[in-house]
């Protein structure tokens, strides 16, 4: 049994400790907002927060996440993240710019953007490049993601 705390709730999971956190979140806990994209930490679709920092859940064994605070997109949208105001500002900016196309990568993009703004309230273009280049968007929403991050930063400050 593995004990993990997701979106503020602690659950005992019957899973092999080496199981990637992603599959526990999706298959066992049914939080399917966290997406599978590559399985190797290359695309960012599976990004969640571990104690407020962005991590790729496909490449972290569930054992490494015990006794720590994990937030998924569902938790962020419900205001249960470490910095709920930043999470909401990011989602609001995403809506204002109608960022998503297919939307599949957007939970990961939003988690990365929220973590960026938590660490850096006034990110430059280079900061955005660095923080967001691990999240692939095949539809090509990068220009709007950039605009939305800047808007969320402005709202926060």
């Amino acid at each position: 049994m593995v004990s993990i705390t997701i979106n503020g709730e602690t659950t005992e999971i019957n899973a092999d400790p080496v199981t990637p956190l992603l599959w526990v979140i999706r298959d066992e806990l049914k939080f399917t907002g966290t997406k599978f994209g590559c399985g190797k930490g290359l695309c960012g679709a599976c990004t969640v927060h571990l104690n407020g920092q962005a991590i790729r859940s496909c490449s972290v064994p569930v054992a490494a996440a015990t006794n720590q605070e994990i937030t998924t997109i569902e938790g962020l949208a419900a205001g249960k993240s470490k910095n709920p105001y930043i999470g909401q500002a990011v989602r609001d900016a995403w809506a204002e710019f109608n960022v998503p196309q297919c939307g599949y990568c957007q939970p990961g993009q939003i988690m990365s953007a929220t973590a960026l703004l938590t660490n850096n309230s006034t990110p430059s273009d280079a900061d955005i490049d660095n923080a967001m280049s691990g999240n692939i968007c095949r539809c090509g929403t990068y220009p709007r993601i950039r605009s939305a991050i800047k808007k969320a930063a402005e709202v926060q400050s």
């Binding site: 966290t34 290359l42 997109i73 998503p100 968007c137 539809c139 090509g140 950039r146």
Partner: protein
């Protein structure tokens, strides 16, 4: 599993949404002729109007209390509480079609946006075609849905006139209610729903479409209807579907198309905790179509166990004759073929004479490698097969086709197969091939439980229906005044037809050449187009804009080469070689051209519109031939899917590193139903096109794809995205043209042309990262 538990397990799209069960209704069938008159689509079974059999006598005095939902047609239902439910029948894969269709329906219905609800249609012929590709949704459905919604609005007016016992001319539908013009009376749509549903369907002459000036939603940048679901994790994609008792399957596929399993050691795999069964999907036959790919399937209680079990398999394959396929050698062969005479497809004048009499000639060969689709969501499907039927949940672009192919694979009547369409996490043509739905169905049938087929990214990259690799040869002649006198172009690429009917021969059908090759000839007196033979060794498929990708790259690059030879500005040379403003009528020139399935009367081919988009991007940007050192601008323009798009790219090349600094795009797609979604499609096409141009390559060695994931197959990332992408939408009231695809073709050549302007180095082979770091 009962129907109700299934609905609980998978309410469409958003978990919070409640499923409406229509109350007792009496179905009235309208005959086929009547249906065709209304809907304009050819489907067999007829148009169902659902209506309460009893009409209320109390309508006049007050809104009627009633708990049921009334279907005015298959797209529009009205609840007595005034809620209008729109059924959206096309697949949402990022193009914003759910929002666009809602705009069209709601506008002609004159509904209030805040009172709308949206449901995704099942795969069913009654909606007309649901095949969401070919940039067809708006261009095919715009007129049809307007008419259907206007018909529903008219039926509401008829109902009100009946209640008030007045002439139809005295009533008017507006803002979700019908108003009496002679007094203050009004009846909401909800109040009229029941009576309206019982009205006979009005004649065409009674249907009045709105004037453009009266549009409330069409032509406006309406926000995405799904924005909350897409930013909260509640949107359900194909990979997200979970139904009770579901098992998870991972497939170890034969590495080469057409190979065969010799033996497989499964013992270690069976020991993995959670693995419940291992089966084999049969060897593929010809034609390969949308068959499940031959392989060994590990079925487990969760995704991780299935993939872990699969890793423990030891399979020995007879790889078959496609194992001789090597893409590098194949390129050389395609290039040698296009360097020689091929089979003419279209011609004008005498190109040989033009070349013989030329003051000078110029020739070039271009090549573009195989491309995968690589949507962020890999193919995904859940199937639940029982003796009585099959239910599928999938991110499919073509639920009707999926239904047909699953029926065929299961040997089951398609009436017993239900296909639910989820959100699609990108598709680009990949998800209109139904192989993954067939896989899920066959596996579910074998194990007798619901099964999700779980592709890995490696599966997605290695077992795609690839955009064909290609070689093209171009030659042109100049007279002594630098006027182009002769034009020869040849193309060779394995055909999409190879997956359907390999016996057709190793040649391309006309429609495939109409994608950018035989599109709009240059205004040159002597022209010949030729096609070369090419055999297929992998599954070939259609990818966003299809053969336009390589054809536009070669043609727009070659036009730019000629501009430089002629020492002319790229825009003025382009305007000159496209000729005076005119409508090109293929029939008059003995030119075969299918015009994306539309007539040239409804969608004429206009050089004026093409030149206008090219002029727009040059004039609205800082396009110059005298850019700063190491930087340059490139221009490309093409017509595809009935829309006209030009791209101007600015690049810099410093220390052998390429940066796309700025991109301007102009599109003339006729009327833009949602300008912001047109804009987002153009932005997306620029990034998608950048990926193809800069880094897109699938190579094959010994029949096996060499790439596997995003570390060896690369896609554009945020740091590579231009800091400035500007989209100019040409204001137009022309009929809507395609939008999802036409942005893509001019992107790669505009970048290659900009690199030439910056460096003098001509890129004729993609991807560009073979030459510059990106």
């Amino acid at each position: 599993m009962s129907e109700s538990t299934r609905l609980d397990a998978f309410p469409l799209f958003v978990r919070k949404q409640t499923q409406k069960i229509p109350a007792k209704i009496t179905a009235l069938s309208v005959d086929r002729r009547q249906f065709l008159k209304i809907s304009g689509v050819s489907v067999g079974s007829g148009f169902i109007l659902a209506a309460c059999s009893e009409q209320t006598a109390e309508m006049q005095s007050a809104p009627v209390s009633c708990a049921s939902q009334h279907d005015l047609n298959v797209f529009i239902s009205i609840d007595c509480d005034d809620t209008v439910t729109l059924t959206l029948h096309r697949s949402e894969m990022g193009q914003g079609i759910r929002t666009g269709l809602a705009q069209v329906l709601a506008d002609e219905l004159d509904a209030e946006w805040s009172k709308l609800k949206f449901e995704q249609a099942l795969g069913d012929e009654k909606y007309g075609s649901q095949n969401t590709d070919g940039s067809r949704s708006i261009r095919h459905d715009y007129a049809r849905l307007r008419k259907l919604a206007a018909t529903a609005r008219t039926m509401l007016e008829h109902a009100a006139a009946q209640v008030w016992e007045t002439d139809l001319s005295n009533v008017e539908a507006k803002a979700h209610a019908v108003h009496h013009k002679l007094n203050n009376r009004r009846l909401s749509y909800g109040a009229l729903a029941e009576l309206a549903a019982g009205q006979s369907i009005p004649d065409d002459s009674a249907i009045k479409l709105k004037a453009h000036t009266d549009f409330n939603y069409i032509g406006k940048a309406i926000d995405l209807i799904d924005i909350d679901a897409l930013t909260s994790g509640s949107a359900v994609f194909g990979y997200d579907v979970q139904v009770p008792d579901m098992l998870y399957a991972s497939i170890e596929r034969c590495p080469v198309l057409g190979g065969k399993l010799k033996r497989c050691h499964e013992d270690e795999a069976r020991k993995v905790p959670g693995v419940v069964d291992i089966i084999t999907l049969p060897q593929n036959t010809v034609p390969v179509l949308f068959q499940a790919w031959h392989g060994v399937v590990v079925i487990a209680t969760n995704t991780w166990a299935a993939t872990q079990g699969r890793e423990k398999l030891t399979c020995d394959w007879d790889l078959g004759k496609n194992a001789e396929h090597n893409s590098q050698a194949y390129f050389e062969m395609l290039k040698s073929r296009v360097n020689e005479d091929c089979e003419p497809t279209n011609s004008l004048g005498d190109v040989e004479a033009a070349f013989d009499n030329a003051a000078s000639t110029h020739e070039a060969v271009y090549q573009v490698p195989y491309q995968p689709h690589a949507p962020m969501e890999v193919p995904a499907a859940v199937a639940d097969v029982s003796d009585s039927g099959c239910e599928i949940w999938s991110c499919t672009q073509a639920p009707q086709g999926a239904r047909d192919h699953v029926a065929q694979a299961l040997g089951m009547a398609k009436e017993n197969i239900k296909v639910n369409v989820t959100f699609l996490g990108g598709a680009f043509g990949r998800k209109s091939k139904h192989d993954f739905c067939v896989e899920a169905a066959l596996i579910s049938k074998a194990v007798g439980k619901p099964v999700k087929v779980c592709w890995t990214r490696e599966d997605d990259i290695r077992f795609d229906y690839y955009h064909a690799m290609s070689a093209q040869y171009f030659k042109a002649s100049f007279d002594k005044d630098a006027q182009v006198t002769g034009w020869l172009q040849r193309t060779a690429f394995p055909s999409i037809v190879s997956i359907f009917a390999p016996e057709y021969g190793n040649t391309n059908p006309e429609w495939e050449l109409d994608l950018g090759f035989d599109e709009l000839p240059v205004a040159v007196k002597n022209i010949r187009h030729e096609k070369g033979k090419s055999e297929a060794h992998v599954r070939i498929g259609w990818l966003r804009s299809v053969a336009n990708i390589h054809h536009a790259f070669a043609r727009s690059s070659f036009i730019d080469e000629l501009a430089h030879k002629a020492r002319q500005h790229p825009l003025s040379f382009f305007e000159q070689i496209m000729g005076p403003d005119r409508i090109f009528e293929p029939k008059n020139e003995n030119w075969n051209y299918s015009n994306y399935g539309e007539t040239t009367e409804s969608n004429p081919i206009s050089t004026a519109r093409l030149k206008a988009v090219a002029r727009t991007v040059v004039e609205k940007s800082d396009f110059t031939q005298n850019a700063a050192e190491n930087s340059g601008w490139g221009l490309a323009a093409s017509r595809s899917f009935l829309a006209y798009v030009a791209i101007a790219s600015k690049v810099s090349v410093v220390d052998e590193h390429l940066t796309i600094e700025e991109v301007h795009c102009a599109i003339d797609c006729g009327l833009a139903v949602n300008p912001d979604r047109v804009r987002s499609q153009m932005e997306g096409a620029v990034i998608f096109g950048m990926s193809i141009a800069l880094m897109g390559e699938i190579s094959v060695r010994d029949g096996q794809v060499e790439q596997s994931n995003f570390d060896d197959f690369l896609l554009a990332r945020m740091r590579q995205s231009p800091k400035k992408i500007v989209v100019h939408i040409i204001d137009s009231k022309e009929v809507p043209a395609g939008v999802g695809e036409p942005g893509l073709p001019p992107v790669a050549p505009s970048i290659a042309n900009a690199i030439f302007a910056a460096t003098g180095n001509r890129i004729r082979e993609l991807p560009i990262n073979k030459v510059y770091s990106v």
